[in-house]
Amino acid sequence: MTIKTYREAIIEAMILEMKRDEKVFVIGEDISGGRGCDDFEGEAAGGPMGLTQGLWDEFGAKRVIDTPISETAIMGAAAGAALSGLRPIAELMFSDFFGVCFDQIYNQAAKFRFMYGDQGATPLVIRTMIGAGIGCGPQHSQSPYSIFANIPGLKVVTPSNPYDAKGLLISSIRDNDPVIFCEHKALLGMDGEVPDDSYEVPLGKGKILKEGSDISIVAIGQMVGVVQNCIKNLEQKGISAEIIDPRSLSPFDDEMVYDSVEKTGRLLVLDESNPVCSFGSWITSMVSEEVFSSLKAPTKVLTPPHCPVPAAPNLEAAYLPDMETIIGASENLKNYT
């Protein structure tokens, strides 16, 4: 067991899978970073965030393919490659860019299996960066996973730590459906214990990070770390929280959430997406339908406000749900009568 960053865990997962299966390749913008050019002699940059560092040196230009800035072509080529038997990992540098290529994702890749009568699989992983918190502003900071999860045929994964990032990425690459793998940019440098060997974290299986009896808190992506920082304060206030990281949103481990709510009677969801039709509101809706009689208080979702992500640091800080808001909401639920 070694300590690795979230970034290193992602790179390691790709290297292991590319060694295991010659059909796996990576395609995207600047993923080697100039080495795509035949006459380039410098060091491969491995993408602006270093998320593909070392891949070019290990596997070369045939399987680490630099592209023009051309997201529709990247996603469409990845979809077509997957449909014809390869296993592409396509990088959508920032998830915000889905707006220029979504047709290839939701009208094409997501529908191939259904509309072609299960003739073939579409084993495609779209790795993409989500999230606010590092000052990237309105067009590089969004978390559109609720939109992705709305699409039948897509699977959506939101790792919150290095261990899960590696295991979930390996599972995603081996999966035979298109998976949108949401890497949170604020977590790239996060440290954690990551085994050197290959292992899978199954899609659709959540994890209970801490057991508790008063309130179930489901946290997505970056919000997992924020709520973990609240545990001591909550305990000081006499609140025993059960903390759940769903790890993937589609498929979603609804049974884990129902079981927890049946025990605690209270549900708080922490979700970084926009509030209207957010994934969090879907979770509370399912809980209301399935385990209504267990509830001792109304369900609650904390998201950012319904506005784009601002650039100013003070506004961005105010945008994300913080510890104070989470602790306050938990108290309200505990004290609800």
Binding site: G80, Q104, M115, G117, A121, D177
Partner: protein, 324 residues
């Protein structure tokens, strides 16, 4: 290069099959038996056939909403394809795709596509098998004059050119993007010239002449297999019918339609050429005509008499079985 008699017969069979099939579908649509919109390929038969006679089963094509001709030219199973257009359980796509989304992966037909221009990047993706796996294959995208204005098509051409992928961009200029004429919708008016701007050789030819298409296809396929990258082939051939069946075609004159049928019938042109040159007997082709008519009639009858999908199938095959 002189084609063998077998290849000429093969080419004629593909073209004629499309003609007979589409005329039959037109009748069926008029009778109200087809449960979805259809877009007929008549007038453009030489394009799909001229390209596909140069491809193997391992080679791939990515098609359009006007895809029946591409399917047949790529030798998709006639009966299961017909069943799909009638949305039947035993259709190629189990009835869930219908006319605008037919695929037959077993012969490299990667799907008709109801999103105009979206098939071009998909064809490029299939061609990546040459780069990643070293496979000997060619991938063709059929792109209408309307689709030629889509960003997806430009991005696909640029990526194929940059990565030197074995792709044929086959532009089917049939004169109209839905109801809008190519003289109105195409800036600069030169589709092949645009492709050249991406650094690939391009051809501009009469799409009602099988031999013109086939010759260009043979060169482009050879270049692609060598690893020398993509080519573009712009084929001009007006469609004989509306954008979809039921389109009243207010945007063109009866005289135009009569002229196309008289002067630009790909079947008539082909027959005349091969018969005049004494390459194939007229009676051989007549026999093919009769045989195809009975094949198509049987396929349609079989399709109409086969069951629709079970309602239990509504939510199957969204994901791999057991994975969701």
């Amino acid at each position: 290069m002189q084609l063998s008699k077998d290849k000429l017969i093969d080419a004629y069979t593909r073209m004629k099959k499309i003609r007979v099939f589409e005329e039959t579908m037109r009748d069926e649509f008029a009778k109200g038996t087809v449960p979805a919109f259809i877009h007929l390929y008549i007038g453009q038969e030489a394009i799909a056939s001229g390209i596909c006679v140069e491809l193997n089963d391992n080679d791939t094509i990515a098609s359009t909403h006007r895809g029946h001709g591409h399917c047949l030219a790529k030798n998709s199973d006639l009966e299961r394809m017909t069943m799909e257009i009638f949305c039947r359980a035993d259709g190629l796509c189990e009835g869930k795709g219908g006319s605008m989304h037919i695929a037959d992966l077993s012969v490299g037909m990667l799907g008709a596509n109801a999103i105009v221009g979206a098939n071009a990047p998909i064809a490029v993706g299939a061609a990546l098998r040459q780069r990643v796996m070293g496979e000997n294959l060619v991938s063709a995208a059929f792109i209408g004059d309307g689709a030629s204005n889509q960003g997806a098509v430009f991005e696909a051409m640029n990526l194929a050119s940059v990565l030197k992928l074995p792709v044929l961009f086959v532009f089917e200029n049939n004169g109209y993007a839905e109801f809008t004429g190519v003289d109105y919708h195409c800036g600069g008016g030169d589709i092949a010239g645009r492709a050249e701007g991406f650094g690939m050789p391009s051809y501009k030819l009469d799409g009602s002449d099988f031999f013109a298409v086939q010759e260009a296809a043979a060169e482009a396929v050879e270049r692609a297999r060598r690893g020398d990258g993509p080519s573009a082939i712009e084929c001009y051939a007006k469609r004989w019918y509306g954008h979809f069946e039921g389109d009243p075609q207010h945007y063109r004159t009866k005289e135009e339609l009569e002229t196309i049928r008289k002067d630009s019938d790909p079947l008539k042109i082909f027959r005349q050429k091969v018969e005049d040159a004494g390459l194939v007997e007229s009676s051989d082709l007549d026999t093919i005509d009769e045989d195809l008519l009975s094949q198509v009639t049987n396929a349609v009858e079989k399709a109409k008499n086969s069951p629709l999908p079970n309602v239990e199938e509504l939510t199957t095959n969204v994901y791999e079985k057991g994975s969701y």
